[in-house]
Amino acid sequence: MKLRWNVVAPLALLVVLAGLPLFATEYMLHIGVLVLLAAYLATGWNILGGYAGQHSLGHSLFLGIGAYTSTYLFAQIGLTPWIGMWVGALFAAIVGWFVGYLCFRYGLRGPYFALVTIALAEAMVYLVTNLNALGGAEGLDVRWVGHNPALMQFEGKTAYYYIILIMTALLLFGVQRYSRRRFGYQMIAVRENEDAAEALGVDTLAVRIRALVISAVVTALGGVFFAQYYTYINPRNVFGEGPSVQMLLFAIVGGLGTVWGPAIGAILLVPIAEFARSSLGNTFSGAHLLLYGVVLVLVMLFMPNGIVGLVQTLERRRRGGRA
């Protein structure tokens, strides 16, 4: 029963989501894209933050690397983002490996790791702002060449919606699968008790670095989609603290270290935030960020295990009550 529910519910959800463009307005599709992109990025953050327990405050570093690589390559040599995305992913992997090695080698973690990641992302904001080749503070445009699937450019929002839907579905499927495999268990073991994991033959350094690299690659691919969808990137909006905070926020609200938590967090919060932004945005541009801040504080104070954690606790209590 349990196993079947685990398979049926996501598949049903996938079918419903796949059918959405048949009757949705452009605006609804836009919200759909935002929700899915947020779910995708939060799920990617969760691999490192939730499963391996290393909380990056600067994951926009990888988002920006992906977005800038594909956009730059397209602008300079006309390379299609379908290939550029993998170049971006490779860069992100290299940077991720380097950052992971630097930090984890000497056991920098917890608040230290948070400080380092936030500083690295911010350094990129300043670096790219000063690089004219990358458009400086103005950023880069993805030049519109007309509807051209081979260059990842589409009329309307439907195609973008399906791309991010497939990316998110694949990612969730991967997380679901690998969290129940050796590497998934190793990540959790490292998070739960590093010494014990090491004593039981887990190469804790390698596991951490690997989690960071995977998370970085996933995030960079999301960055490429971000650039193609918005067709414009600048240092602040891809490397800045905004994307970093959102990635971790949805994961935390939904439930760290759970397969569905980050997606649930995004589904709940993004529409509300978008509503706040569109209805209050004119008078009050930080409405959605203020909301995020309040949610983050309240969740940390009253339900630090997120929605999925809360449900699990209630479930256990219910079962415990019956037994």
């Binding site: 405050l57 500083a119 690295l120 300043y126 203020l290 801040g293």
Partner: protein, 292 residues
């Protein structure tokens, strides 16, 4: 671009002045870490709040900028103490991630509340001090920066003296070194935490009043100073008081000399590069620190 000796001398002087302020801004963060192993990621936003208070007292109330100390310092102590009491104390025993995220949430709230109330405008004051300069040969010292440097040094010295020489200061240090032992010695650790958080925040009140004559105020100003503080405390060794002061000067010099010889805001990149190099070769900070 010419690297004249005058230019270099000038940037070194400016760097030291600014570095003093950086040190003061960072020392509170380091103190809070040393005592309760928490990084307040809203540290920069606390400073931003203090700067708005100082700004309005000067711009609307016609106060002397340095007289605003009398308001900003206790106000920030209160802000720190209240936020500690209301949000941080309840989750002291929780995983560090929860404390990090809570303070990140606080920073978002403060930053965007400021945006609501004050808009994104960049506010600057023109005080009688703003244009005062001292000339030593070819080198110019801006008086408000000099006052800020002296004020920062004085505040850091007072804080150091307080921690070293008073009973309460000793209790704070005892709690920082060993919570259990401190409890056994009859130290009320909860009160010490509150005090440390308050004092750590109050230093930002002082910093804001010292800076208001020459630095602008905006809702995102905390972002910049917060990051500077993170870099400084890591460089100096988290929880290392004197290390933080020296690191503040180093970062001030890096920014200032970097700005003199590099185009644009690349000096900021230099600062972060220094930060990364330290992580690479001396992750415990240049002067050693207290790890979690």
């Amino acid at each position: 671009m010419t690297f004249s000796p005058e230019l270099i001398a000038q940037s070194i002087i400016t760097g030291i002045m600014i570095g003093g302020v950086f040190a003061l801004i960072s020392v509170g963060l380091s103190l809070i870490w040393g005592v309760m192993r928490i990084i307040n990621f809203a540290h920069g936003e606390f400073l931003m709040v203090a700067m708005y208070i100082a700004y309005f007292l000067v711009a609307r109330g016609g106060w002397d900028p340095y007289a605003t100390l009398l308001v900003t310092t206790p106000a920030l102590f209160l802000l720190g103490a209240l936020i500690f009491r209301g949000t941080i104390r309840p989750i002291l025993g929780h995983p560090s991630m929860n404390q990090i995220m809570l303070t990140v949430g606080l920073s978002l709230i403060l930053q965007n509340l400021a945006l609501v109330f004050f808009k994104a405008d960049v506010l600057t004051t023109r005080t009688e001090y703003t244009r005062m300069i001292l000339s030593i040969g070819p080198v110019i010292i801006r008086v408000p920066q000099l006052i800020a440097f002296i004020g920062s040094a004085l505040t850091a010295f007072l804080l150091y003296w307080y921690l070293q020489r008073t009973d309460t200061g000793r209790a704070i240090r005892a709690a920082a070194q060993n919570k259990q032992a401190a409890t056994l010695m009859g130290v009320d650790v909860q009160r010490i935490y509150l005090l440390a958080f308050g004092i750590g925040s109050a230093t930002l009140g002082v910093a804001a009043s010292l800076m208001i004559s020459f630095y602008y105020t905006s809702p995102t100003v905390g972002l910049f100073f917060g990051l500077i503080a993170y870099v400084v405390v890591v460089l100096g060794g988290l929880g290392n008081f004197l290390g933080t002061l020296v690191a503040g000067l180093i970062i001030g010099l890096t920014e200032s000399v970097g700005a003199a010889i590099l185009p644009g805001s690349l000096s900021r990149v230099l600062t972060f590069a220094l930060f990364i190099l330290v992580l690479l070769f001396r992750p415990q900070g240049l002067f050693g620190g207290k790890r979690a």
